[in-house]
Symmetry: C2
Subunit: 188 residues, 2 copies
DNA sequence: ATTGATATATATCATTTTGATATATTATAA
DNA sequence: TTATAATATATCAAAATGATATATATCAAT
C-alpha cells in the first residue's frame, strides 16, 4: 500500500468477495455503501491501473470474449494482505461534509424562512435515504446467519439510527425556529 | 460565483461577520464548524486570491503595520449577494465519509475482535467530540437571545444528537458482535 | 426491421481538495 | 538567552470530484 488512497481499500474490500470490473465496483459502491462512502470512475479506473502495476490486483480476461471489452479484476495475496493491514490500523478519518449544516450555521443573518426551508430540504433527503436503508435491513434480516452479514447489518443499522436522529432533530429545529426565544427579530 | 468551490462559501460566511486573515479563517473552521466541515490552507489561500480577482472579497491593510505581514479580507457587496444566493439554493450535497464504517463493512471476513476494536476506536473519538460539543452548547445557552445564535445552537445540537446516537449504536453493535447469532464462527 | 432509450463499460480531463512542507516572524516559557 | 509554540502566508504533489467522450449491448415501442 503505497499512498493514502482510500479508494484502493474500497476496491480491495469489494474484490475480496468476487472478481469485478471497474463498472461493477462503481455500481456496488452506489448501491451497498453509498450512505457512508462515494466513488467516481475518475478515481476507480486510475486506481485499478496503478494497483495492477503494484501487484495488489490482477487483470482477468472475461471468459466469453463475445461482445464489448470487459476487464475483470482479481485480488492478489498482496492485495489481501494490504486489506487486512488496513482493517487492523487504528488511525481512521471520518470526514463529514454537511452542506446543510453550513447553510444553517451561516443563515443566521437571513430571514428565518431560509433556514426553515434548508431544514425541510434536508428532511426530505433523509426520509428517502431512510426508506432505502429499511429495505436493506429487512433483506439482511432474512440472511443474518450467513458469513459477513452481521457486519453489513451493523452498517445498515448505523445508517437507520442516524437518519432517525436527523429527522427528530429536524422537528425540534423547526419548532425552535418557529416559536423560538427570538421570534420577534425575524431580520437582523 | 463562478464554480463549484464550497470553500468560497465557507469563507464568505465567515467574512460576513468580520474581517479575517486566511489564518483566522482556518482557525475558525477548526474551532467552530469542524464537526461538519474541514478546511486547509492549501484551499483557503488560493481561494482568497481568486475571490479577490473576481470581486467577492477585497484586501484590507492591517492598520498597525508593525510586525509580520498580515492580509485582512473584507467581504464586498457582490460577496454578500453570492452568499445569500447560495443560502437560498436548494441543491445541497451532504458528503459523508466514514472510514470506520468502511472497516466494519469489509471486516466480516476477519476475526470478530478486529471489528470490535474498530468500534472501540470510533467510540473514543465520538466521546471526545461530544465533550467539546457540550461545552459549546453551554456557552451558547448563555447568549441564546443574541442574533445568529439560534442557528449556531442548532448545528451544535445536531452534533450532540448524532454523537449520542453513535454511542448508543456502538454499545448495541458490540453486544451483537459478542453474543450474536454467529458467535461460534469467529473465523470464516 | 428499425428506431430510440437505457444500461453496460472504459477512459480522460479540468477543477477542487487534501495533507504536507517551506519560510519567516512574534510571543511565551524555561 | 534560548527553545518552543503560535502566528502568518504560500506552494506542491497526490487524490478526489464531477463531467464528458466514446462505444457496445439490450430492450421496448413503433
Amino acid at each position: 500500500m503505497a499512498k493514502d488512497r482510500k479508494i484502493d481499500l474500497v476496491i480491495l474490500g469489494l474484490l475480496s468477495h468476487e472478481d469485478l470490473t471497474g463498472y461493477d465496483i462503481k455500481k456496488q459502491i452506489d448501491s451497498g455503501i453509498s450512505f457512508f462512502w462515494k466513488g467516481n470512475f475518475g478515481s476507480i479506473y486510475p486506481a485499478l491501473n496503478e494497483m495492477e502495476k503494484s501487484g495488489l490486483v490482477k487483470k482477468k480476461q472475461d471468459k466469453k470474449s463475445s461482445g464489448r471489452e470487459k476487464i475483470l479484476y482479481h485480488i492478489t495475496n498482496d492485495g489481501k494482505k494490504a486489506l487486512q493491514e488496513w482493517l487492523r490500523e487504528e488511525r481512521v478519518s471520518n470526514d463529514l461534509k454537511y452542506e446543510t449544516l453550513l447553510k444553517i450555521y451561516f443563515g443566521g443573518g437571513e430571514d428565518r424562512s431560509v433556514t426553515l426551508r434548508n431544514i425541510e430540504v434536508f428532511e426530505n433527503q433523509v426520509k428517502e435515504e431512510l426508506q432505502i436503508l429499511k429495505i436493506y435491513k429487512e433483506n439482511l434480516e432474512k440472511v443474518i446467519e450467513e458469513k459477513d452479514h452481521i457486519n453489513y447489518y451493523l452498517t445498515v443499522t448505523f445508517g437507520i439510527d442516524t437518519c432517525e436522529t436527523y429527522l427528530k432533530w429536524c422537528v425540534k429545529a423547526k419548532k425552535l425556529l418557529r416559536s423560538g426565544s427570538d421570534g420577534s427579530k425575524n431580520k437582523r
